[in-house]
Amino acid sequence: MSQPPVATHAAYDVELLRKDFPILERRVHDNQPLVYLDSANTSQKPRQVLDVLTEFYEQHNSNIHRATHALGEEATEAYESARMKVASFIGAPSADEIIFTKNSSEALNLIANVLAWGERGLKPGDEVVITEMEHHSNIVPWQLLCERTGATLRWFGVTDDGRLDLSDIDTLINEHTKVVSFVHVSNVLGTLNPVALIAARAHAVGAIVVLDASQSVPQLPVDVQELGIDVVAFTGHKMCGPTGIGMLWGRRELLEALPPFLGGGEMIETVTMERSTYAGLPHKYEAGTPPIAEAVALGAAVDYLTGIGMDAVAAHEREITAYALSALTEVPELRVLGPTEPVDRGGAISFTLGSVHPHDVAQILDGHGIAVRAGHHCGRPIHRRFGVAASTRASFYLYTTTSEIDALVAGLDKAKRFFG
């Protein structure tokens, strides 16, 4: 199939990039321009990705790995080439170590499930360590694993300024610890966690290190080997790709030693009525027909981001976040949950606004065309940690402009006056 067009931008030109995203032309609620500040929830998709998605269905649609015809070969080639693009994007040593899932949650559930049994399965007395700032998808799968195996769940607390409290790292991660799973960049606080430091301690006691990189892979250059981790989970729809496709990367020797997750077609070597043997990586973990078109379009998203350059994407994110933090902290009665300085910080900013409930804030903003998220953002424990049930969250991406931040600040003023 034809190579997807790659965006190339010599200097970072946000207005030029915005032209790649048809949806940013949308007008909402009485013809007001859309101000999309909900990219941590899901990113928008550039034309380059949408075209590949459509082209796949129009020109190459077929099942993969099992169709001995022209379309089957094209589809298989496109699917496997997406796997290679993802591997190179995150610095994985081999494409076989990239497992396509349906989202980050499934990737995290996969790893938590296969640690429930087999030679490396957890037992009573073993410990799993997570943190208080995790998304529910990096809490609940580990709770389930502990319930199943009798292992114990422990977690790092969070300081008042939204950083992990690592003061007890040497007791929390100890000789009983089998897994340490934590978020790279928090979807609520924006905090960027010190991966290498935690991974080093975890490896010193022989624990597996799992990283939830759902918010970081879209925003930052991520190299899994440099980070020194064992497993990483992330998702396509937050990085300009379609929904329905997520990824798990794991070190080959680890994934080979762990038992299968879902059973079914494609994940086997031979099947008898009594028992089965399993395919090698990555197919062992990809039972059934995968999200083929989604994977191919995700490959186009990787090309798109690579064309811009992840250093440039990260630099833009830093600039916008610094601008937003400085503008938002000027708003009377606004309290940011998490770091208020743009240091070791991603671009999600959650806040409360006086006594106005986040739902009401978001509704007023929406009335002015501004899309944010309101609620606990799948992080109830971290909201409780900061003594609130919910917050309003603005989050940015490579297409966010400073004038959109200005619109947000003006909208917050309107919300306060409406409920004042």
């Binding site: 909402v28 409930h357 739902h359 009401d360 609620g375 919910a390 409406f418």
Partner: protein, 158 residues
Amino acid sequence: MQLESMYQEIILDHYRTPHHKGLREPFDVEVHHVNPTCGDEITLRVKLDGSTVSDVSYDSLGCSISQASASVLTDLVIGRDIDAGLTAHREFVALMQSRGEAVPDEEILEDAVAFAGVSKYPARVKCALLSWMAWKDATAQAQEHSTMSEGDNDDRDS
């Protein structure tokens, strides 16, 4: 968007000055309901006196819509017959599920007709229903208790 279609003045009034708020004694049943999508919560108590709702008290954490809805609910049911309250409940749920299509019956719903606009916003319907679902749950439990204790009395009498 017509923000005013959701945030009717009646709703804002109830939000700013909620009626019957706070937990009171005596009560038959206390329930705790949450809206899992946003974390909003309500603790609600019901006191029945025969077939009359003698008190509904509550403590809640939530947006203007959920706060105002609880206030309107208590106005509609306190001091009234349980059946009248359940009729209002049915009408209100139907209104909230109408996606802006229903014409509310003001005879039955009184101030609650102001929530008609909220039904156009699916994400906010749960906010409006939180206290109503809690009240129905608590009332059903209280009725069960009273039937059971009547049963106990019968046993003792026989």
